[in-house]
Every structure is written in C-alpha cells, then in structure tokens.
C-alpha cells in the first residue's frame, strides 16, 4: 500500500518557461530510460525477488522513482505553464500541444508514447538486477545529455539532483547483485535461474 506526501523530494521553482526544453526533458518522464519505466521496472520485479533484503531495495527505489516522476513532471509543467498560442506557434512543443494542450503525458523526446516494452521483468534475480544497473546508467547518460542542453540554473539544479540519484541507485543495485550472487552455490554461477530452477 502506498501513501502520498504533499511535497516534492527535491524542490522545483522555474521562473522562465521554455517549451523547447520541456520537449526534451519529458523523455525522463515517459521515455525509454525515464522515471515511469524505472518505477514500473523495479516494482514489477519484486515478486520474483526471493531475497527479502533485495525485494526491499526494489520497493524503496521503485517508490523513490515515483517521486522522481513527479519532479520531472513538475519541471515540464513549470516550463510550459501559461504559454500563449503565440509562444507555442512554430516551437517544437506545437505537436505535443495539439494532443495534450498543457497537460502532462508520458512520452519520449521523439514523441513515442510510453510503453512497458521499455523494461523487462524476467523473473530471474541475476538477470533483473543486471537490467536495473544498466537502466540506472542509461538514465544517468540521459540526464547528462539533457544537462548539456540546459543553461538555466532553475532547471539544472533539480536535474543534477536526479542525476546523482541514478548513481546512488546504481551502487545499491550493485550491492544487491552481490547479495544475490552470494546465495548461489559454485555449481550455479549464471547456469540457471535461482528463483525458478530447483536446487541451485
């Protein structure tokens, strides 16, 4: 069960709208390495994660990713708040605006809609944690790409926070992988699925 707190994990206060950047940053909401896919990935993978400690890491990071989704959404919202038709006309935001006005909808920077094919839940702890570590690095790369395009401190500040969290999550998943590997016996090192195959 979840409960909501009326606060952002990191504050977002953007003074200057920027519909062009909103169209880039929205990828970290609904893109292939975005926060929505991250949260759904970890929360879905928990059920096959027999190690309770690692299931806890998936629960807690999956929950934090929901908070990050809210931060990214708040950034996009503040970058497009109160735009006039004149500001939208001719901007890369125009195509998005036609379908969503100033609403927030999960899509990639390319315009591709969010899809669960952005992540895997393979039912194999070793496989899943490798995916999770890769996902954190891909998200970190994406935030680095975004930061090269952003020069407004109000936007950079929360993006830098999110980038840092990718690194911390990567470290925690690295430790999780070690915990799961320690439970394997010497005959099963990547030979079969420790959550499914018997006697491993």
């Amino acid at each position: 069960m979840w409960s909501y707190e009326r606060r952002l994990q990191y504050p977002v206060n953007i003074r200057q709208t920027n519909p062009e950047l909103a169209m880039v940053i929205i990828s970290q909401f609904g893109g292939p390495d975005g926060e929505l896919a991250a949260s759904m990935r970890y929360l879905s993978q928990r059920y096959a994660m027999k190690n309770r400690q690692v299931a806890g890491v998936l629960t807690d990071i999956g929950t934090e990713e929901l908070a990050h989704m809210e931060i990214v959404s708040a950034i996009v919202h503040q970058l497009t708040r109160n735009l006039t038709p004149e500001q939208i006309e001719g901007s890369p935001f125009a195509n998005y605006y036609v379908d969503h006005t100033l609403g927030i909808w999960p899509q990639a920077a390319s315009g591709a809609p969010w899809t669960s094919t952005y992540f895997q839940s393979k039912g194999d702890p070793i496989t899943d944690i490798h995916e999770d570590m890769a996902a954190e690095q891909k998200a970190r790369t994406t935030y680095d790409n975004i930061l090269r395009l952003v020069h407004d401190h109000d936007i950079c500040d929360p993006i830098r926070f999110l980038r840092e969290r990718e690194i911390v999550h990567y470290q925690r998943f690295g430790e999780s992988l070690r915990l799961v590997q320690e439970e394997l016996d010497s005959k099963n090192y990547y030979a079969f699925n420790p959550a499914f195959d018997q006697k491993c």
């Binding site: 928990r46 309770r52 299931a55």
Partner: protein
C-alpha cells in the same frame, strides 16, 4: 488487540485504513461534512495506536515513522505483503 496474531492485527489495521481511504476521497468532495470529519479523526487516532502496537511486535509498517531500533535496520526483515500468509 491483546491476543491478536500478526495477521489478525494486519487485517484490523487494514480495515481501519480502508475506512480512512474511503473517507479521504469523500472528504475531498465534501470538505465540511462534520460527521465524516469526526469519524476520520477517530479512525486516525485508532490507527496510530494500532500501528504503534504492531510495529513494537513485528517491525516497521511505515518507512518515515518507523520506530527504528538502534542496533539493526528492521525494514527489510519481515515478510513482504505479497508473500501471503502461508
């Protein structure tokens, strides 16, 4: 609550919490309904008491207000809710 098992306590907390979930969305659209407000406050107090008792016996229910013991982090020890009763 004296002789309740872990599962019985969880069921009891679940019932109180669901009543609060339901009252929450009712109060969102009826913010001045005094009957609902009184009921919500009663339930909130009851829930706090039960959660406190549960956490003392079986470890933390919530993350932010869990009563941490000084020697060991207990958040990941107890069964996760999706594991079921057996």
């Amino acid at each position: 609550m004296g002789e309740m098992s872990r599962q019985e306590m969880l069921n009891h907390i679940g019932k109180i919490s669901f009543s609060m979930d339901d009252l929450r969305i009712f109060l969102d659209t009826h913010p001045d309904c005094s009957e609902a407000l009184v009921r919500f406050n009663e339930l909130a107090k009851k829930r706090d008491e039960h959660i406190h008792k549960f956490e003392k016996l079986y470890g933390p229910m919530n993350f932010y207000n869990n009563n941490v013991c000084d020697e060991h982090w207990r958040w990941v020890n107890a069964p996760w809710p999706w594991e079921g009763e057996c």
